[in-house]
């Protein structure tokens, strides 16, 4: 049973991980806590659902969902991020949350508040080892999210754009003097982050066969927690954080009860923030210069 719970926890972790990475891209590089990410996560699931309901073949529906998320991310960059440069650091929070509320309500108007059943793409195939049940869909999505993260990590560490992104993350000023073109890099980052969030939403929909306008909130906030537990701005930190939060959640449910999930998951977050604010893997911020 513990093994089964760990398997269950891993699936959850994979989703949190992707969302955490989406957050970490925005915050680590741009110092922007992008609260529209839960909305983009939801868009991934809901738009794909809408597409399938219209009778689109799934590659088209999925592509449409990712495309929609990318376009929305560009709007977020344009209206929530860009005008706020130079104002109080918490200001972009308002408009990015505005986007979350807007997206949720648009989907609400279109699809209603109900949780909707997402059609099963794969026949209900499960691998059984003794008592242990592992869904094929679970395995595939887990593999996909791991692949995505590994690819991203490769991308950041090995490619030209990746180096530019890491330079921006360290110092915008240095990047500017090196001729990094912020005008195109920032929107690309937003799109990348949105693609991660919406793919997480898609995988979620495929896996749990459900979508709803509010599906992003719970997952999104846990994703933020995962990001911080691991270490803000670090991809592998987000992975570790996602793993931890997912496992803590599942183990809490199976040992203490579902009502204690928020206490343990967010308690862990609080503890980390107090004891080691830079997260498990993360560099402490350096002292300012006068």
């Amino acid at each position: 049973m513990l093994t089964q719970q760990i398997v269950n926890g891993l699936m959850l972790s994979a989703i949190y991980m992707l969302v955490a990475v989406a957050f970490t891209l925005a915050i680590g590089v741009l110092n922007f806590l992008n609260f529209s990410i839960p909305g983009l996560f939801m868009i991934g699931g809901m738009v794909a659902f809408g597409g399938l309901r219209l009778g689109l073949p799934w590659p088209l529906a999925f592509g449409g969902a990712l495309g929609a998320a990318a376009l929305i991310a560009l709007a977020v960059e344009r209206f929530a991020y860009r005008p706020m440069q130079g104002s109080d650091p918490e200001t972009p929070l308002v408009s990015s949350l505005g986007f979350l509320v807007l997206l949720e309500n648009l989907m609400l108007v279109r699809f209603g508040s109900d949780q909707q059943s997402f059609p099963a793409l794969l026949a209900d195939m499960n691998l059984r080892f003794g008592g242990l049940v592992i869904g094929i869909a679970q395995l595939i999505s887990m593999a996909l999210s791991v692949l995505l993260v590994v690819w991203l990590s490769w991308f950041l560490s090995r490619t030209n754009t990746g180096r530019q992104i890491r330079t921006v993350a360290e110092s915008r000023e240095t990047a500017l003097l090196m001729g990094v073109n912020m005008g195109t890099l920032v929107p690309r980052l937003f799109v990348g982050s949105a693609l991660l969030a919406s793919s997480a939403g898609l995988l979620f929909a495929v896996n749990y066969q459900q979508v709803s306008p509010f599906m992003g909130e719970g997952v999104g906030f846990k994703g933020v927690a995962a990001m911080i537990v691991g270490g803000m701005g670090s991809i592998w930190g987000a992975v570790l954080g996602g793993l931890l939060i997912g496992l803590v959640e599942v183990l809490t449910i199976s040992t203490v009860g579902a009502n204690f999930v928020n206490i343990s998951a967010y308690g862990l977050l609080l503890l980390i923030l107090i004891l080691r604010p830079q997260g498990l893997i993360g560099q402490p911020p350096s002292r300012e210069k006068l």
Partner: protein, 239 residues
Amino acid sequence: MTFLSVCDLCVRYGRVEALSGVSLSLREGEIVTVLGANGAGKSTLLRAVLGATPSQSGSMIFNGQDVTKLAAHERIARGIVLVPEGRRIAISLTIEENLLLGAHLRRDMVQIKKEIEGIYERFPNLGSRRNLLASCLSGGEQQMLAIGRAMLARPKVMMLDEPSLGLSPLFVTKVFDLIKELNRDGLSVLLVEQNAGKALAVAHSATVLELGRVMMSGDPQTLAADPRLQEAYLGEAST
């Protein structure tokens, strides 16, 4: 033949006028040095030439083309490259990645690799630690890396902003030797320096800024002898 010409450049930060009508020109293969006290606007001038700080008015011709309207990355692609003040090495990147960052606008990987090897040959200290984080370098080594990084952008004009700042005398000499060497290989250099004596010794031409304006300019020997320069630095009454 003028290679880079800056004409009547004005830069404001909010209400503060940092540069007011600065003009400057540089011929191909020359070292031009810009001198001046703190706050005279030297760094602002280099940033404006790079395009990283927007200028309110003025024009800039480079290599026969009007580059006034171009963004920093477009100017860098045309060969105007800056080695910034304080070096600005990305310390979360490795030494090799810093070099690659300098080449980020280029696509010719094979040639880039070759040039990086060239840099390592020139600075064995960098080559032996190529895969370590740049934070492990000393100030002088960081300056070498910063110059190497700029080299990889294939500069036609290299601008150096106080390259000797905070370096030990040994490294200061190294840096100036390097600048001379690069210049001998045909690179044009725009050099901002605190160390006026060293700068004037290598320069073909010099400009002194004061409070955002050109105070004087001319050939370095004349300037070095000009009491106003001593005055600008040491405040000695010219007797």
